[in-house]
């Protein structure tokens, strides 16, 4: 398989994620879409790394995955806390910080 196939898959995943982030209102769905964005870029890194024979990209991806895990953990914790206070995770209703 050529490098372009990997990049194409990554691009498709990225687009789906971007679309989701822009259109969804549910906090959990948005977080999931952000994970898609991250994983699309991880896929790119791994693909490039594998095709160029340089392990740096893979190591970088490991870091990225670890940080994504932390991010998801914090994100969901915030959503749980939010749900307890506001009884909703529809982000359109969460706007008291607006001015």
């Amino acid at each position: 398989m050529s490098l372009y196939m990997y990049l194409l898959v990554a691009a498709i995943i990225f687009t789906i994620g971007a679309y989701g982030v822009m259109t969804q209102r549910n906090g959990i769905k948005i977080l999931m879409c952000i994970e898609l964005l991250l994983n699309a870029s991880n896929l790119n890194l791994v693909a490039f790394s594998s095709f160029s024979g340089n392990a740096t990209g893979q190591v970088f991806t490991l870091f990225s995955i670890a940080i994504a895990a932390a991010e998801a953990g914090i994100g969901f914790a915030i959503l749980v806390a939010l749900f307890r206070v506001r009884d909703t995770i529809n982000l359109d209703n969460i706007n008291i910080l607006r001015w």
């Binding site: 822009m22 982000l91 969460i94 001015w99």
Partner: protein, 651 residues
């Protein structure tokens, strides 16, 4: 033929884990059949490999992971006996758990987790490099955490799981530091000395490590081995990191039998045995191993004397017996060389059989009477004949009963006497009798507490009118099989030692095996362990069965010794109150809060910079619509523009 499928030993239980976790509810009894079949497969492959490589073969497979590291399988005599024990005991306990967990709603989760645990434990055993060993070691720790907290709705269970995780983590960090230090040393000597890896060998493989020993500076080697031993102390519940193991009894009894008696806690001993050539070259580290082990053996046994929870008695007994194994590695390692590994591993295996049996019997009793408290049991012998008999056999094995002259005895007799004789030999050669004295006193206490447990549970009059009944066949048959092993495993001693002695020669390491003149000690030394064992049995019989000695005046809240033992030397209070509340919360967290609140906030807020920014912010804040999707769209738009600009700019 079996050797080609060595990887399946680990992969089968992993597969069972995935299937049980996702589809367990759809199968009868929570999908128990899947892990049982998978682990039976692991056992068959392990046994097949044993038959193939016996007496002088190894299985080695390895593939590159990245740069100088690898994934691989190493099955040598040390690993293959351990593989057979782990898969066999795990298999029996899984079968037993079908009966024991039959009323629990979380069965799929239980069987999935124990299956993952078995896979990880087998992966620890057959790792051919220290890094893979460490990774599997961590997965084992995770499973231990999950299974201790299996009934997570009980606050004590959740707290015990957390404690186990945090305390073993202290050891794991030391272990990891040891691996890093070893890696640094290996890199150094590869660059600066004549040492080079053989083609096809990788940096952190055990055989490369052993080959590098002569090139590593002795002080460095001592530090590395001590750090490794730190990991072993955490995992095997040695002093001072022993506190988590008795608390871990909050999990289901089958978990205690599998993880906290037979397999996981012995991983620490296995680690020291695995890297034994390094320890032998670092006598100071070996001395630490001997003393920590000997002290733990005695220390834990004293607490086992007074516990009223049937499982806690057994937990302290486990800690104590693990201390014996460490003691064997340390003392016998110093004077007998490679033979120490055989002595220690033999006790590890026989302990796995009789301690798993003790726990499963305790589980059977708990299943029948519905309480852990020994004071509420009693008189169960008539109602639970099989459990009582098998538990008595296990108690005999733990007490090390046998006849030295005739070479007849239980498994524990052969294995424990060899350790005590090893300690005596060490004392004889070096003049340092302290480990030997520790081991003899601990043997006396062992015999007292285990028969105290047995008499309190099974003899006398029932102290509560519960309708206790014998457990179903699915539970008693594993008990009987384990009891046979506890009785007869000891007779494989000679063959076992011979088999393991060659272990490190197969790896290309020469460790002197000294026969030692004093290994044929005087009759008194030979008989002393069994004498103290019988003495313990008699003492327990007089106090707890015949009630000739009145203990009520000694066992009171006013007796300071009893108080200290019952409070477990105040270790739980030390770890939760002093370390947890005072040190972590009081000192570290509070000083962090002070820095944040007073210094950072104090400097930035309430001055001219902040006020200018605030008024500027009043203007710009109108941009904030409060709708997250707008922000996301603008961000993406911005990134898109940036990319287009970069293209135009010719990047």
């Amino acid at each position: 033929m079996f050797s080609d499928y060595a990887a399946l030993i680990v992969l089968l239980p992993v597969l069972a884990f995935v299937l049980t976790l996702f589809f367990g509810k759809k199968f009868p009894s929570g999908g128990a059949a899947l892990p049982i079949a998978a682990i039976a497969g692991s056992f068959i492959i392990s046994f097949g490999i044993f038959l193939e490589i016996y007496p002088h073969g190894t299985v080695q497979q390895s593939m590159q992971w990245f740069s100088t590291l690898n994934f691989g399988i190493l099955i040598d005599p040390l690993a293959v006996v351990m593989l057979m024990m782990v898969s066999f005991v795990s298999l029996l306990i899984h079968i037993y758990a079908v009966g024991y967990m039959s009323h629990d709603t979380g069965k799929p989760r239980y069987f999935a987790e124990t299956s993952l645990f078995t896979a990880a434990m087998l992966a620890v055993v057959l790792s051919d490099n220290i890094l893979q060993f460490f990774m599997a070691w961590e997965v084992v720790g995770l499973c231990s955490y999950l299974l201790i907290g299996f009934w997570f709705h009980k606050p004590t269970a959740a707290a015990a799981a957390k404690k186990a995780f945090l305390v073993t983590r202290v050891g794991d960090v030391l272990f990891l530091a040891g691996i890093v230090l070893l890696y640094v040393n290996m890199t150094n000597i590869l660059a600066n000395t004549g040492f080079s890896l053989e083609p096809g060998n990788f940096m952190l493989q055990f055989k490369s490590m052993f080959a590098a020993i002569p090139y590593i500076a002795p002080t460095q080697l001592t530090i590395i081995t001590l750090l490794f031993f730190g990991g072993a102390v955490g995992k095997s519940g040695q002093f001072p990191l022993h506190g988590w193991l008795p608390d871990a009894m909050e999990g289901p009894t089958t978990v205690s039998a599998l993880i906290h008696a037979a397999t996981m806690v012995t991983a620490g001993v296995y680690l020291v045995a695995r890297t034994f050539p390094m320890f032998v070259e670092a006598p100071n580290a070996l001395l630490v191993v001997a003393y920590v082990g000997g002290f733990t053996a005695l220390f834990a046994a004293t607490m086992g004397l007074v516990m009223n929870d049937i499982k806690r008695v057994l937990a302290y007994s486990t800690v104590s017996q693990l201390g014996y194994m460490m003691l064997a590695l340390g003392t016998a390692g110093m004077v007998l060389g490679a033979k120490a590994v055989g002595i220690s591993m033999f006790h590890l295996l026989s302990h796995a059989f009789f301690k798993a049996l003790l726990f499963l019997c305790a589980g059977s009793v708990i299943h029948a009477v519905g309480t852990n408290d020994l004071r509420e049991m009693g008189g169960l012998f008539g109602k639970m004949k099989i459990t009582a008999t098998t538990m008595f056999i296990a108690a005999l094995a733990l007490g090390g009963f046998g006849i030295p002259g005739l070479h007849i005895g239980t498994a524990g007799f052969f294995s424990k006497d060899a350790i005590i004789e090893g300690a005596y030999e060490y004392g004889h050669v070096t003049g340092d009798m302290i480990p030997y004295v520790f081991s003899i006193i601990a043997a006396l206490l062992t015999s007292i507490y285990i028969f105290r447990l047995w008499f309190m549970a099974f003899s006398g009059k029932p102290r509560q009118d519960r309708h206790a009944h014998e457990s179903p066949k699915v539970m008693t048959i594993p008990l009987i099989i384990l009891a046979l092993f506890a009785l007869f495993f000891g007779f494989s001693q000679a063959g076992f030692y011979g088999y393991l002695e060659t272990n490190f020669e197969l790896m290309g390491v020469e460790i002197g095996v000294h026969e030692g003149e004093a290994l044929h000690p005087s009759t008194l030394i030979l008989w002393l362990p069994i004498i103290v064992g019988v003495l313990g049995l008699v003492i327990s019989y007089l106090i707890y069965n015949r009630r000739i000695l009145d203990m009520s005046r000694i066992v009171t809240r006013r007796n300071p010794v009893y108080q200290i033992l019952l409070n477990r030397y105040y270790e739980p209070r030390l770890s939760s109150y002093v370390i947890g509340e005072k040190l972590t919360h009081g000192v570290v967290a509070m000083s962090g809060e002070f820095f944040d609140r007073k210094i950072i906030d104090g400097l930035v807020i309430d001055n001219i910079i902040s006020r200018t920014l605030l008024s500027l912010g009043d203007v710009i804040k109108k941009l904030q619509t409060g709708v997250v999707r707008n922000y996301a769209s603008v961000t993406l738009l911005g990134v898109g523009l940036l990319i287009i600009l970069l293209r135009i700019g010719g990047m």
